[in-house]
C-alpha cells in the first residue's frame, strides 16, 4: 500500500516565477503547503564589506544596484544619511527635485511589481502594459540623470545637475495620460473573477503577526498597519505636500495589490503638487565647500576652489566621527542606512536596513495553508527584489 508523507519540493533558484534567484524549500502535504523555507544568498555581493573600502561618494553607485528597480529611493536614503552625518543643508529646489525623482521611482517600482505579480498569475498582458508605462518614466530619468535604471543622481548637498528646461511639461504630459492607464488596469484586474480567485484570501497575515515580523511598506499597509514614513517622519519636500496613505485591512494578497494601485494614484497627485510648487534656485549647496564639488568655472579661477576640488576627488569627503541611522519610505518598505564613521573618508560600517529581506521572512507565516499554485502569487504580492535581500 502506498505511504502518505510530506513531500519536499525545491523551487528555484532558477524558476520562471521568482523575482530573481530565490530558492524555496516547500513542504507539501498533497497539494497544501505545510511550510515554506526561503534559501537566500544567491545574489550576495558583499556590498556592506565593499563599502568599507570605498569613499563615501563611491558607495553611491553600489546603493543603486541593491534594489535595482527603485534606485532613486535607495540613493535618496543613502544621501540623506550622509547629509545627516555631515550636517549640511540642502537648497529647496534640490529637495523638490529629489522628491520628484523619488515619486517617479515609486511609480516605476510599483508598475513592475504589479506587472510581474500579474505575469506570475497568468495575466501576461499586464506585464507588457507595465513595461510600456515604465518606458515613459525611464525616458524622464534618462534625460535628467543620464541613466535609465541606475540614477546615481544625488550628491551630498543636492543633485548632480539641474533639470533640463521643459522637464515640467514632459512630466505633466506623462501625468496626464498615466491615470487613464491605471483605470485600464483596474478594468482589467479589479473585478476580474479570475484575479479575485487568485488573490483574495491568499497569503493571509494578521496585523499582530505583521507587527511582530516587522513588515513595512505596502505589505504592512495591506494588513491594516497605518504607517508611512513620508507622513509620520517627513523628509525632503514631503512636509509641503498632502499625502493620503491607503490602508486596507483584509490582510491578503488582494489588499496588498490594491494598496500598490492606490499608491500609484497618490504618487500622481503628489507629483502634480510638487510641480506646481517647485521653487527656483541652486540645485546643490555650494556653501558646504568641504563636501560639495565646486562649480567647474570657479575651479579654473579660484585657488581655494581648486584645492577643495583636489582634496574631494583624491581623498574624499571626511565626515565627523559619529553614527546615524536614517530611513525613508521606499516602494517596498522602510529602507534605512546606518552609517558609522570614524573621521576617515571611508565609512567604518555601512549597514543597509533592507525592506524586502524583512518582508520576505514573513512568507514563513503567510505560506502554510495555501495551495502550491498560490506560492507564486504570494511572492508576487510581497514584491521582492533579490538584490536588496542578499545585498
Amino acid at each position: 500500500m502506498a505511504k502518505q508523507e510530506i513531500m519536499t519540493l525545491n523551487v528555484g533558484p532558477h524558476h520562471p516565477s521568482t523575482h530573481g534567484v530565490l530558492r524555496l524549500i516547500v513542504e507539501l502535504d498533497g497539494e497544501r503547503v505545510v511550510s515554506i523555507t526561503p534559501d537566500i544568498g544567491y545574489l550576495h555581493r558583499g556590498i556592506e564589506k565593499l563599502s568599507e573600502s570605498k569613499k563615501f561618494l563611491q558607495v553611491l553607485p553600489l546603493t543603486d544596484r541593491m534594489d535595482y528597480m527603485s534606485s532613486g529611493t535607495n540613493n535618496l536614503a543613502y544621501i540623506l544619511a550622509v547629509e545627516k552625518l555631515l550636517g549640511i543643508e540642502v537648497p529647496p529646489r534640490a529637495r523638490f527635485i529629489r522628491t520628484i525623482m523619488a515619486e517617479i521611482t515609486r511609480i516605476n517600482s510599483h508598475l513592475l511589481g504589479i506587472g510581474s505579480a500579474a505575469g506570475d498569475c497568468g495575466a501576461v498582458s499586464m506585464l507588457l502594459y507595465s513595461l510600456r508605462e515604465r518606458e515613459g518614466c525611464l525616458d524622464l530619468f534618462d534625460e535628467t540623470t543620464g541613466g535609465r535604471m541606475m540614477l546615481t543622481y544625488y550628491r551630498p548637498g543636492g543633485v548632480a545637475n539641474d533639470l533640463l528646461p521643459g522637464f515640467e511639461n514632459r512630466l505633466k504630459a506623462f501625468l496626464d495620460k498615466f491615470p487613464k492607464k491605471l483605470d485600464e488596469y483596474d478594468t482589467l484586474l479589479k473585478n476580474n473573477r479570475i484575479w479575485l480567485k487568485r488573490q483574495v484570501g491568499i497569503g493571509y497575515i494578521s496585523r499582530e503577526d505583521a507587527l511582530s515580523y516587522g513588515l513595512t511598506g505596502p505589505t504592512a499597509r495591506g494588513s491594516g498597519i497605518d504607517r508611512d514614513i513620508r507622513r509620520d517622519e517627513p523628509y525632503e519636500a514631503y512636509d509641503e505636500v498632502e499625502i493620503n496613505v491607503p490602508v486596507y485591512t483584509d490582510c491578503d494578497a488582494y489588499s496588498r495589490w490594491r494598496v500598490r494601485m492606490d499608491e500609484m494614484r497618490e504618487s500622481v497627485n503628489i507629483l502634480r503638487q510638487l510641480i506646481a510648487k517647485i521653487p527656483d534656485g541652486p540645485y546643490i549647496n555650494h556653501e558646504a565647500a568641504k563636501y560639495v564639488l565646486p562649480e567647474k568655472p570657479r575651479v579654473k579661477d579660484s585657488m581655494e576652489a581648486l584645492i577643495h576640488h583636489f582634496k574631494l576627488v583624491v581623498e574624499g569627503l571626511a565626515p565627523p566621527r559619529g553614527e546615524v541611522y536614517s530611513s525613508i519610505e521606499g516602494p517596498k518598505g522602510e529602507i534605512g542606512f546606518y552609517i558609522v564613521s570614524d573621521g576617515t573618508p571611508h565609512p567604518y560600517r555601512m549597514r543597509v536596513r533592507p525592506s524586502c529581506f524583512v518582508n520576505l521572512q514573513a512568507i514563513q507565516k503567510m505560506g502554510p495553508g495555501n495551495m502550491m499554485a498560490d506560492v507564486p502569487a504570494i511572492i508576487g504580492s510581497i514584491d521582492i527584489v533579490l538584490g536588496e535581500i542578499d545585498r
Binding site: H15, V21, H44, R45, G46, L50, L128, L131, E135, R148
Partner: protein
C-alpha cells in the same frame, strides 16, 4: 561545436534571369544557420539588474519579437541561448554550470553586463569574476546595465557569428590515439 570558418559566409541568393526567376539557390549550411539565428529560444536566466533591461528589451519598445527571439523558455532542455544577465556569485556558480550542462547542442552564451563579463563593480569575496570562469561565452555585451540598444547590438553580433558557423566539416576531425570519448570524469 561552432567554428568561424575562413570561407566567406554563404549567402542566400536568387538568380535574376526571367526564365529562372522563381528558383532559390543556396547551401544547406546557410539555410540551417539562417533558421537557427532567426529563432533562438533564450533561457529565462536573469540574475540581477541586467535582467530588468533584458525584460525591457523584450518589452513593447525594443521589441525582441522582431528577431524571432521572444519565446523565452524556462527549462534549459528546450532553450538554446543562455543570456547570463547579472552577477554570478559563488553560491550560484554550480547552478549556472548545471543549467549550461543541461542545455542541448548547439548552444550559445551571451554574457550581459559587466558583472557577467568580469565581476563588475563587485570585486568581493562572494562574486565570481566573470562567467567565463564557468562556461564558454560567445558574445560579451558591456554596460552596467547595457541599454537595450546595446543588448540588441550584442544579439546581432551573435547572429553574425551563427551565420559563419560551419555545419558540415569537410576534413575529418583529428583525434588523439587512445581517446575513447567523453567520460563522466572528463567531459571535455
Amino acid at each position: 561545436m561552432s567554428t568561424i570558418g575562413k570561407n566567406k559566409p554563404t549567402r542566400v541568393y536568387r538568380k535574376k534571369k526571367p526564365q529562372e526567376a522563381n528558383i532559390l539557390l543556396t547551401t544547406a549550411s546557410a539555410i540551417i544557420n539562417h533558421s537557427q539565428r532567426s529563432s533562438l529560444m533564450p533561457l529565462t536566466f536573469g540574475l540581477a539588474c541586467c535582467a530588468i533591461e533584458m525584460i525591457a528589451t523584450a518589452g513593447p519598445r525594443f521589441d525582441l519579437s522582431r528577431f524571432g527571439w521572444e519565446a523565452y523558455r524556462a527549462t534549459p532542455r528546450q532553450a538554446d541561448l543562455m543570456i547570463v544577465a547579472g552577477t554570478v556569485t559563488n553560491k550560484m556558480a554550480p547552478v549556472v554550470k548545471k543549467l549550461y550542462d543541461q542545455m542541448a547542442e548547439p548552444k550559445w552564451v551571451i554574457a550581459m553586463g559587466s558583472c557577467a563579463i568580469c565581476g563588475g563593480v563587485f570585486q568581493t569575496y562572494s562574486v565570481v569574476p566573470g562567467v567565463n570562469h564557468l562556461i564558454p561565452v560567445d558574445v560579451y555585451v558591456p554596460g552596467c546595465p547595457p541599454r537595450p540598444e546595446a543588448l540588441i547590438h550584442g544579439f546581432m553580433t551573435l547572429q553574425m557569428k551563427i551565420d559563419q558557423k560551419r555545419n558540415f566539416s569537410v576534413s575529418p576531425v583529428k583525434v588523439e590515439p587512445g581517446f575513447r570519448g567523453p567520460t563522466r570524469k572528463e567531459p571535455f
